[in-house]
Amino acid sequence: MKFITEFRRPELAEGLISQIHRESRTKARFMEFCGGHTVTIFRYGIRQALPKTLEMVSGPGCPVCVTANTDLDKVIALSRIPKVIITTFGDMLKVPGSRSSLEEAKASGADVRTVYSTTDALKIARENPDRSVVFLGIGFETTAPTVAASILKAKEAGMENYYVLAMHKLCPPAIRAILDSGETRLEGLICPGHVSVIIGAHPWESVAHDYHIPCVISGFEPLDILQAVSMLVAQVEKKEARVEIAYRRGVRPEGNPEALRIMDEVFEPGPAQWRGLGEIDNSGLKLRSKYQRFDAELALDIVTEPPQEPQGCLCGEILRGVSSPLDCPLFGKTCTPERPVGPCMVSSEGSCSAYYLYGGSLGG
């Protein structure tokens, strides 16, 4: 089976689109949680293909975008400590903190290295025994297990110079925070695909039940999204609120037990700061006490100034689904992918970047 072209077949898409048009009678707003979904929706012009009854809003599912300035400032302060090597996924480099970005810190001499996995970070730590090597633990449940595994490996190998700055975030509490706030009316959720590969379908069941909202877990190809939308429409029309999986090739109801076990061994839930959503209880992951010696925040002396938010930037509202990038006075003017003001313009999965790259009014 071809895993990409099979899920982009135009004749199947056409069938799903006409089915959605036939079946959708009730006005409904659906939120796609994940930035990856937003990109697919724009790249394939899916919003244009949907009937007038349906409205899609983008959610906070871009890990770079939801990283709060307090955390970014910590990262930049860390990079300025002598003999510290920062290892990070590339997306983090350009994200503006309160006063500067990691890219600017790097240009001023900080040792910042882009890696593609925690294995690379461990390798750098082994090769530089006289340096403190910090991996920036950013991301959702998708990346947390591999970071947990790197800590287990470092412990097993007796490494004393490898640290993690734990900034991981959990998706279900963020969705609950959005639904609790009541700022955005939603009739359906497209739940994140890769996150659900790890956590499975069960954590979404209480969301569907408590808020009486249909939830469909989707993959990232256009046919996945169209299938998810058509399943949401069917539930809306029947006034149901269940969890369904439109991504069977990736997601099992129970998730990935081994990944969950490793994550639970190393991390425990704790409060986390979300850009736009503020502090949410039990929405982050902190290192359990027996792994605290790997915690960069405890091991290294990080000194930060009080955070500042950029004037006029609507990233927070956009992440909550309250505003669209087109509402932002900075969008496309002072804030562009080359000179981003807010994080939603930086990440390839940020809403602002998707609107900018794929032509907001036409694509939307």
Binding site: A13, F42, G45, Q48, S347, L357, Y358, L362
Partner: protein, 334 residues
């Protein structure tokens, strides 16, 4: 111990002389270079095209090519995109001390091979060696001169509504092949760079139509950036169809994994032609018969709508705007 390039190789003294005569002149073998005068002298009449480019690629060897054949093909292709027949190239090396002599030999051999295929002569050159850290292994600059046939008028501002947009083959091969070799990106692929000299194909195209409006090679910034440049320069809209753009499975796969879009990935052996509709089929046929154009396709046309912008019909039948590449494509993390 392996022979390395030393600072003395760029000093103008005995070692430098030895490197030039034995390393370069013998390998690149042509009478104008062999004279070793301060400048190459030749007699040319007609419309001349002149271009230059510097090559700083890392790594210097990559699947399907190296910095040497890239430096020849890149400049040859820039000349060809004006419709010129490339004739003479200059070749300047900036070498970081410590480069293995064997690497340099391999690159010079590859330069010679590409120059022979492209039917150009390297007629003048220069070598500098800099301290370790002042350059990354090897930088090359080439400049080239070519001659443009009288009837030819090719420019980025010549596209007209109704013209067809032709692409000479699969996109993204070069960028993904190079990216796959970068440190830390542990994916393997059989993909090779498409690096190739296109002057012969252009000459064949001109033999069936002297009315080609625009030619451009979609290098950095990829197909999307090239089409945007042409739409803006000619003040036409360009409408393309996603399904018509040839892309290899491996490129699609790698792009998915890294969160990239093939239309923004660099090519080194492809061209985009904008031609009058009535000439499109004959140009298409002759391009397909060339070894570098087997997968040539008509991917769209120029229109009077959305002037200066590029719009793509997606495989789902919807439309989206294709913008220029902004910033560097970053790998995704989730």
């Amino acid at each position: 111990m392996e022979d390395k390039i030393l600072l003395a190789h760029g000093s103008g003294g005995r070692l430098a002389h030895q490197l030039i005569t034995e390393g370069f002149v013998r390998a690149l073998n042509n009478p104008r270079l062999a004279k070793l005068d301060d400048s190459a002298v030749f007699d040319l009449k007609g419309n001349l095209a002149f271009t230059t480019d510097s090559y700083v690629i890392s790594p210097i060897f990559f699947p399907g090519g190296d910095i040497g054949n890239l430096a020849v093909c890149g400049t040859v292709n820039d000349l060809a995109m004006s419709g010129a027949k490339p004739l003479y190239l200059s070749l300047s090396f900036i070498i970081e001390e410590g480069l293995p002599q064997s690497d340099l030999n391999r690159i010079v051999a590859s330069i010679q091979k590409s120059a022979r295929e492209a039917e150009v002569e390297i007629v003048t050159g220069d070598t500098k060696v800099v301290n370790r850290g002042s350059a990354d292994k090897l930088f090359i600059n080439t400049a080239g001169i070519g001659i443009i046939p009288d009837v030819v008028d090719i420019s980025g501002s010549n596209a007209r509504p109704g013209d067809k947009v032709i692409l000479s083959g699969t996109i993204g091969d070069h960028g993904i092949a190079v990216l796959s070799q970068r440190e830390g990106l542990s994916f393997t692929t059989r993909l090779e760079s498409d690096c190739a000299p296109l002057a012969n194909m252009v000459a064949e195209m001109l033999s069936v139509s002297s009315n080609i409006h625009c030619l451009r090679d979609p290098t950095r910034g990829g197909l999307a950036t090239t089409l945007n440049e042409l739409a803006a320069q000619s003040n036409v809209g360009i409408r393309i169809e996603e399904d018509k753009i040839p892309v290899r499975e491996e490129v699609i796969g790698a792009c998915e994994m890294l969160g990239l879009d093939p239309i923004y990935i660099a090519n080194e052996g492809k061209l985009v032609a904008i031609v009058p509709a009535e000439d499109a089929e004959s140009i298409l046929d002759i391009m397909r018969s060339n070894r570098y154009g087997a997968k040539t396709a008509i991917i769209g046309e120029a229109t009077t709508e959305h002037l200066g912008r590029v719009v793509m019909k997606t495989s789902l039948g919807t439309s989206r705007i294709i913008d220029m590449l902004v910033g560097d494509p970053l790998p995704r993390i989730c």
